[in-house]
Amino acid sequence: MKKHLNTLYVTTQKAYLHKEGQSVVVNVEQESKLRVPIHTLDGIVCFGVVSMSPFLMHHCAENNVAVSFLSEYGKFLARIQGPVSGNVLLRREQYRVADRSAAASAIARNILLGKIANARAVLRRALRDHGEQPALKTAENRLSQYLRRLQQPMPIEELRGNEGEAAASYFAAFPQLITVKDAAFSFRGRNRRPPTDPVNAMLSFAYTLLVHDCRSALEGVGLDPCVGYLHADRPGRPSLALDLMEEFRALLADRLVLSLINRRQIQPGDFNDSAGGAVSMTDAARKTLLAAWQKRKQEEIIHPYLEEKCKIGLLPHLQAQLLARHLRGDLDAYPPFIWK
């Protein structure tokens, strides 16, 4: 397992990455700006006009370093992939389970329990820190209801229905979690294609980073990121990566965005408006978010199921491993990550 968890995010436009010995070198306008030994990296994410030598691509594939190319605004474009790794028998089992509705919905249900419990934990933390607020309390109660309802097995369609309602309750309370009083950061529900306000722009960007990490975690244990249980198959959609990230949305992405806003590390001026109403983050704002993200990944917690200390950045890898262990018959069910 990769212990370093360092992802190199390259946001400087026209940067060129190449290999020198065992290092990754970043050149900007013919000048080398950064040199990182490859064995300290587990991923490279390039935003916008960033190029890379084929030799570095080979080297990354050989060293299990995930390389992704995103648009300047974080839309996924391409990635470098080495030979298909992992156990073909595991992938077959993943597909078989996807075709068995009871087994698939059991996994989806546990994922949802994790997602909703973690969203509730974010609300509870706010209630504890800022006192009783009716909107927060209402949403907290609703999420508790959904958690109770999900104690029973149910078909996948019903699970998805409950998820939609739980997410709506959570996002209805979301404005209460933003404590800075500035019209730029008012939040009137989640929108994403494209995001039309600063909060949604930040959430979308943070979710993109999370998908990237979840996808490489799944590939690392040999699972197919495109065949999921909660999310139905759709060509081009990394359904299992989306499943895996559900448990982490509130905890890793939402809280990060909230703290950047509430601590005024991101300001209303950190966004660009386009003519069509889309809102995007400026380069500087993306860098701030990336730095905070990277720092957060190094923090340590106790994994609630494994009861072992681990870095936050390793959580997707550990959960992917637990899912693989369940699919291969080691564990009686999939234990979602539930934040305490």
């Binding site: 050989e62 209630l127 958690l147 199921y305 291969r328 564990l331 009686d332 305490k340």
Partner: protein, 206 residues
Amino acid sequence: MSFSDSDLLPLSALQHYIYCPRQCALIHLEQQWTENRFTAEGRAQHDRVDRPEHETRDGIRYEYAVLLRSLRLGLIGKADVVEFHDDKVFPVEHKRGRPKPTHCDLVQLCAQALCLEEILGVKIPDGAVFYGQPRRRQAVAFTPQLRSETEQATAALHEMLRSGKTPPAEYDKKKCNACSLLETCMPKKRRAVSDYLQEALREKAP
């Protein structure tokens, strides 16, 4: 029974299997950390490239990196060194570390001897394992017991890989802590997921 070319398993898998069947399955079925393993194996092989393929000293011919195969056992691999004396063939396996508590090195050497017997049509009564720490040779006699243990382990290895099933973990502190796949394996007994969920979702006032 005779195996075909495509069914041959590496001798290293046999050694993994003797150490821990689950470790063997994680490497050869689950394909975990192949890149580390190949890097390590590549390095080990590179060491050998620097040596001559064979040499003769004091009337003994030393052959290095000898290719081995047994269609009877279904194994393929390499012997570090095979000594050809006037009256006998004598395999020597080199290990960097110290003698291990399990039989895995002895079984690996015996499997090499069985391959050599099949290839050369000779009887090989004994061999040796050379340990780097401390630098000494341990003589190994290929007794009927060791031969039968090797053949049974080889059959069990074939059966496990054919079944495609990774066996459950059996936590053994000493062995597990020395294993490079400890984190992938997660060998410690875990509570039932339903108990975990019940506890984690317990209602408590915010």
